[in-house]
Symmetry: C3
Subunit: 326 residues, 3 copies
Amino acid sequence: MSREHLLSISDLGREGIEGVMQLADSFKEVARRPIPKVPTLRGRTVATLFFEASTRTRLSFETAARRLSADVMTFVASSSSLEKGESLRDTVETIDAMGIDAMVVRHRSAGVPSQVTGWTSAAVVNAGDGQHEHPTQALLDCYTIREALSEKMGRELSTDFSGLRIGIVGDICFSRVARSDVLAFSLLGADVTLIAPRTLLPPSLEGWPATATADLDGVLDDLDVVYLLRIQAERAGQVLLPELDEYHSRFGLTRERAARLRKETLVMHPGPMIRGVEIAPEAADLPGSLVTRQVRNGVLVRSAVLLRLLSGTAAGGVDASEEPGA
Amino acid sequence: MSREHLLSISDLGREGIEGVMQLADSFKEVARRPIPKVPTLRGRTVATLFFEASTRTRLSFETAARRLSADVMTFVASSSSLEKGESLRDTVETIDAMGIDAMVVRHRSAGVPSQVTGWTSAAVVNAGDGQHEHPTQALLDCYTIREALSEKMGRELSTDFSGLRIGIVGDICFSRVARSDVLAFSLLGADVTLIAPRTLLPPSLEGWPATATADLDGVLDDLDVVYLLRIQAERAGQVLLPELDEYHSRFGLTRERAARLRKETLVMHPGPMIRGVEIAPEAADLPGSLVTRQVRNGVLVRSAVLLRLLSGTAAGGVDASEEPGA
Amino acid sequence: MSREHLLSISDLGREGIEGVMQLADSFKEVARRPIPKVPTLRGRTVATLFFEASTRTRLSFETAARRLSADVMTFVASSSSLEKGESLRDTVETIDAMGIDAMVVRHRSAGVPSQVTGWTSAAVVNAGDGQHEHPTQALLDCYTIREALSEKMGRELSTDFSGLRIGIVGDICFSRVARSDVLAFSLLGADVTLIAPRTLLPPSLEGWPATATADLDGVLDDLDVVYLLRIQAERAGQVLLPELDEYHSRFGLTRERAARLRKETLVMHPGPMIRGVEIAPEAADLPGSLVTRQVRNGVLVRSAVLLRLLSGTAAGGVDASEEPGA
């Protein structure tokens, strides 16, 4: 992680990822308090600038900010001056000028969060930019795997994923989640397999430290983690719709495939899940499914990221004191 | 009231209603303080999940939550993952996983808040489900009548409505307000008359402890409370529109009918009022009109409901101490 | 400023403007604190009622309210009961009944904020009403000029603008900003020139203490402040669109005109700027451009206005103590 921004997993390195994990651990304890807050960022303002709708991710960041007692400023693109023709840069500079400390940015174009760093003195967090990256998703995924492995194997919490076999299934090509996850998982030592029809794989695997296959059934039994992605039917349009059934039977976690999984295999999905397409309705509720745990950990990890960026120190922990007046 | 949720007036019973009324009384005192807040729910989070637009009710709940120092998480359905095909259940489980204590749910389908209780560990409050119920509306209506009777008659505050004649006028059949009100008013001993054209009455009065008539003028002079409902023209579509004038003359509180009311007759409406349809423009501002008082009391009653659900005790009162730092 | 509302610059007078400026100065110091807040309005609620979309102005007011530790209630017109046919008056009375202290109102019709004062006991701030006024914009513009003059000239902060030549360029006729600015600037002693094609000037200059011309190049060299307005292309519709190029060449701050400006000439714009129409892309980033400073000062000035209205005293300063628990 650069000192000031979180744009890509590649900024972080293995040590950076581990630092976020440990800071997130301290928020786990905070979440169990009667008043699940620390006063650390009291009076600081975190702005969410979502130029692409995403209630789920936005609420996660805003909840993470409130756990640190920060104020939240929500910018909704659809009702904004952008519709009157204002440039993205002027919008960002306007929000910046109101006095904010962090800017959480989602945009349909790759690279926008990086551009934004030139227009604000606030710390910038990439909350998803086009088909590029979504680094906090990868961090919460790492955190969730680390936690589940510790619980299942009864071993210490560890970010050493050596020997772990992770399969990412689905719309790899258009997915910023896939890119950030592959980078993070491989940094931590995991073996990553991309599983998708050729049309949904990247044209080249250069820069993707992973192998690829179109044969889910051929690799399924070897996987420790099955990570499913959403088919973005709303982007593909009706062209893809007649094929959704076929997709489900070839690449979905059908009921049959779910039954084949070993008890300790982990099933993950970044949400929103479309049951019946990438996952059978019943499979989403398997005991091995970590989907809601991913959401819960998302708040912890994003609190850790915001704290780290705004306190400007990788060593900083959570202030031990509770909220005043508790 | 069940210990954990408020889905229907029938969960409550007379004693439950009385408990809420008394708790709401203590918030009346809080509202007069220079800082109208108590720290009771500091650090707890109340999420509003409105799958059907309603600024009025949502803001009332959110204001009620803030008076208890709770944090508010606002979920707006239209910009959410539901549009991408996520199931209602997955949406609820996602919000739940972020760590919330109460979920206030409005949905166009009857029974959704009840289903939601199976998907979250939070307390669920029904804020209106289809044509089924809207229990906090009924509670604030009871509270407003109890208050007005005490002031007008110079008697003690009492939830004994024996002998009180209440007429509910209008779109009974499609109204969740009517159903909750009839249940609550009759539990407290009132005589309830439903006044509507046959097409807007329920097909059968089974389960409705009330009598019905289409003759407003025949019963108007006997009523202590005239409770008007909104004609939901946006649901009925253009079919009903040519008849709005006729509706007004037969079932509206016209200027002539308003003039006939006794001085102490109470006029109520859950809002939004459509002046010129169910009520004459002037009639809405009668001295007997309790409409804005209903809104004010809505905040008190909803604070009481949230406190009761989240403190888990029917006996709990408002913490006497003011906000720290006041 | 009347004791209770801020509807028009003409309510204020020169002394009123100066009072706001001085109060805003004290918020400048607050903004530099580690926790940039004062507890003065803790527990009070500021409601923003925007019947016309404006993220920029709404967020500025909400940020200003939070710096005073007030709670914020956001009313978004589009999802409201107004769509069901509720009257504006009933909407306002409903918000009022929930218990608020100030109402910040924007509406497409002139005079609405003034009407609103009759329907609420809260202090009302006009945040833009049709083509009438936008007084806080004028106040922040005065504050920004006062600050820039002091810095550039090395003189004391002063609201005496005698001898200052200000040109307001563009869509004067339809602009509430222009009207409020002309009133404020001339109250402080400045000479104001309106520069626009005849079709965008008011039909008569009665009530506009300013002179008018269509010859930008004839006056440009004499101006100390060039204040550009947005061409409201979304209102004018396609009729104007073919003329935007011509508008830019005759009335825009082109690159050539920008090069002619003296070093100390101030360039201002209320935002959102449409680069390429009223201003050349490069010109918006001139050293003399005060655009982002206008946004920053907007928060200070609006904090001052809210404090003044809600503390009910023109003499009141910012409470010196920091946020409790800081």
